[in-house]
């Protein structure tokens, strides 16, 4: 008899799918960090601190700061202007390249080299990352609109930050999460009729799967929702692919915002409002029990909140 019939959900073995090579080909296990590039690191830092993040460490050789709360790491890179840009961002005007934007998503994988080889063999573009002496060489590929996807395998026994970053003296290296915030998902804006392309991209390289249309999260449920597999069930995350509305011709593709999961959306919004975070209150997008969305900071920095117990339920 299947243990589905005899055991409570919590007592069952984790779903085998997430462990199999087919369902999770690169041993994906959540997001290690999100990287923003900006020409205004202090201004972005203020926004992040308002959101409950704390600056905990500084990069050894570059103008890069690490912010953290709970299990969420955000890297603010003000050094990007001198980094060689990939061909995908070559079309951007100089000032667009320096707009504050999400430039990279670092994915936790079982083995970074194996994952990197796997995705490149499937048709991903390897990106050169130019580590300095004694710094980690983190493999990367092209993502949407000039952004990158990194593969990180050292997140359990020790962290990549121990190598590349110097902790800020006297600062708690593990600040607790505001209102139980945890990483929930990413929203990627895409061109017209591009949902199938991007779904195929994430499916082929990372084993992501479309989420059935009746399962929706948050207050802005449009677009195509996909779920990434993970070896730990709670580390699974979502991506929402959003095409331009019918009357809009803006086909620009980019990673637009991060979604945080919180147990109690209203309580989180109340707490963050006290920290001066402002939330959108239009009829189409206002705070309710399912979710909330902040106003836009720094010409393009938005955070979304979604009701969630912890991570994504599978």
């Amino acid at each position: 008899m299947s243990d589905f019939l005899t055991k409570e959900e919590s007592m069952r073995e984790p779903l085998q799918a997430a462990f199999s090579e087919t369902m999770n080909p690169i041993g994906l296990n959540g997001v290690e960090f999100i990287e923003y590039t900006t020409a205004r690191p202090q201004a972005l830092g203020q926004v992040l601190e308002m959101m409950g993040f704390r600056p905990i460490a500084r990069h050894r050789s570059r103008e890069v700061q690490l912010y953290r709360q709970g299990d969420i790491n955000i890297v603010v890179n003000a050094h990007a202007s001198t980094d060689p840009v990939g061909p995908l961002s070559a079309g951007l005007a100089g000032d667009e390249q320096m707009h504050t934007r999400i430039a990279a998503i670092a994915l936790r994988v079982r083995d970074a080299q194996t994952a990197f080889n796997y995705v490149v063999d499937k048709g991903a573009w390897a990106v050169n990352t130019y580590p300095q002496v004694m710094e980690l060489n983190i493999p990367a590929i092209h993502g949407a609109g000039g952004s990158r996807l990194y593969f990180v395998d050292r997140y359990k026994e020790f962290s990549i930050y121990d190598v590349d970053f110097v902790p800020t003296p006297g600062v708690d290296q593990h600040p607790p999460a505001t209102a139980g915030m945890h990483f929930f998902g990413i929203v990627q804006y895409i061109g017209l009729d591009r949902s199938d392309d991007w779904l195929t991209f994430y499916q082929e390289l990372m084993g992501a799967q479309p989420v059935p249309a009746h399962e929706r999260f948050g207050i802005l449920p449009q677009g195509t929702l996909i779920r990434f597999p993970s070896t730990d069930t709670s580390a699974s995350f979502m991506m929402q692919l959003i095409e331009p509305e019918g009357d809009m011709f803006d086909g620009a593709e980019y990673v637009q915002r991060i979604g945080f999961g919180v147990h109690d959306v209203r309580a989180a919004v109340k707490q963050l409002s006290e920290q001066h975070v402002e939330f959108v209150k239009t009829s189409g997008a206002h705070t309710d029990a399912r979710g909330a969305i902040t106003k836009t900071y720094e010409h393009g920095v938005v955070f979304e909140f979604v009701h969630s117990q912890f991570g994504v339920k599978s």
């Binding site: 079309g91 573009w125 086909g251």
Partner: protein, 306 residues
């Protein structure tokens, strides 16, 4: 050839009539700028671009891109990636690198279709699943750029030499941005039945290239290759006009709504004034639009609006 057609219709009307058609830079001799001028002067709004026009530009690739962008013409697509599929080991790795360079150039030009021709290489595998898997990889490489891959069966391709074969491997590869490129020359040379078009998904036809030729038969691969590279003519100028007409009507009937480009390799056109060749192209486009597709016959909807 006279310029009768051009004189009898005003420029705006010609442009409107032939807007779904484009010329290929390969048809014309001379530098890129002169080709683009001639194509635009003849009323075309789009052009199929070939890599050598840009890499061989006297001021270099970037200058070529700038020249194209300032022309106001739209790029129908970019050509051509050859002999990509079916290879292994170092040869495969080499071709992936070539494909990436082609995608970079295609993207720099703002073209959203890259033409890939079926392999003629004796080093390539004939295994259709191998071919499909390589084409899928090519399509995945193109996704971040928003580029579609139009895979075309050369009529002298080693394994894939009919569009029906190309469609088979495209279906096996099953990638949304991998579709088919049709070329009337190859269809007529290999004598593939038009009924085979019924099996295609119309939204997966990413490009249609049209050309005619003056021989009734091109039975061997060598005949086909020589004719294809030296003696194609514009649609309506050769002996396959009825077939060409049937092909275009069939595609319209299936619901194809994309571009038609004139893929005319012709050694004679290479030594004629660009304007003269472009006018032949214009005459051909007007023939297709007016007499074959009847695009200027007002639809019921338009009549009601008046």
């Amino acid at each position: 050839m006279t310029t009768l057609a051009f004189e009898h219709k005003n420029v705006a009307r010609v442009r409107q009539t032939i807007k779904g058609f484009g010329m290929d830079t390969i048809t014309l001799a001379g530098p890129l700028g002169a080709k683009l001028d001639a194509i635009q002067q003849a009323g075309f709004s789009q052009v199929m671009l070939k890599a050598n026009d840009f890499v061989g530009h006297p001021q270099g690739f970037k200058a070529g891109v700038a020249e194209f962008k300032s022309s106001g013409l739209r790029g129908t697509g970019f050509q051509v990636l050859r002999d990509f599929e079916g290879l292994s080991g170092d040869l495969h790795a080499y071709k992936v690198d070539i494909a990436k360079s082609m995608l970079d150039m295609c993207s720099a030009l703002g073209c959203d279709v890259l033409l890939a021709c079926s392999s003629t290489s004796v080093h390539a595998s004939s295994d259709r699943d191998h071919i499909a898997s390589d084409l899928r990889k090519l399509a995945i490489l193109a996704i971040p750029y928003g580029i579609k891959i139009a895979y075309e069966a050369l009529s002298w391709g080693r394994t894939i030499n009919e569009f029906s074969d190309a469609w088979d491997v495209i279906s096996r590869a099953d990638c949304p941005n991998l579709g088919i490129g049709l070329d009337s020359f190859h269809i007529f040379a290999s004598k593939t039945q038009l009924e085979e078009l019924n099996f295609l998904a119309p939204h997966k036809i990413f490009l249609v290239q049209l050309a005619d030729f003056l021989w009734q038969e091109a039975p061997t691969f060598e005949d086909r290759r020589t004719t294809a590279r030296t003696f194609r003519v514009f649609p309506g100028e050769g002996v396959h006009s009825p077939d060409l007409k049937a092909l275009v009507l069939k595609l319209e009937d299936l619901g194809y709504g994309g571009d038609y480009s004139f893929e005319v390799f012709n050694d004679d056109y290479q030594q004629m004034a660009l304007e003269t060749v472009a006018q032949r192209g214009q005459r051909s486009a007007i023939w297709l639009a007016d007499e074959v597709l009847r695009r200027n016959v007002p639809s019921l909807k338009e009549m009601r609006l008046r």
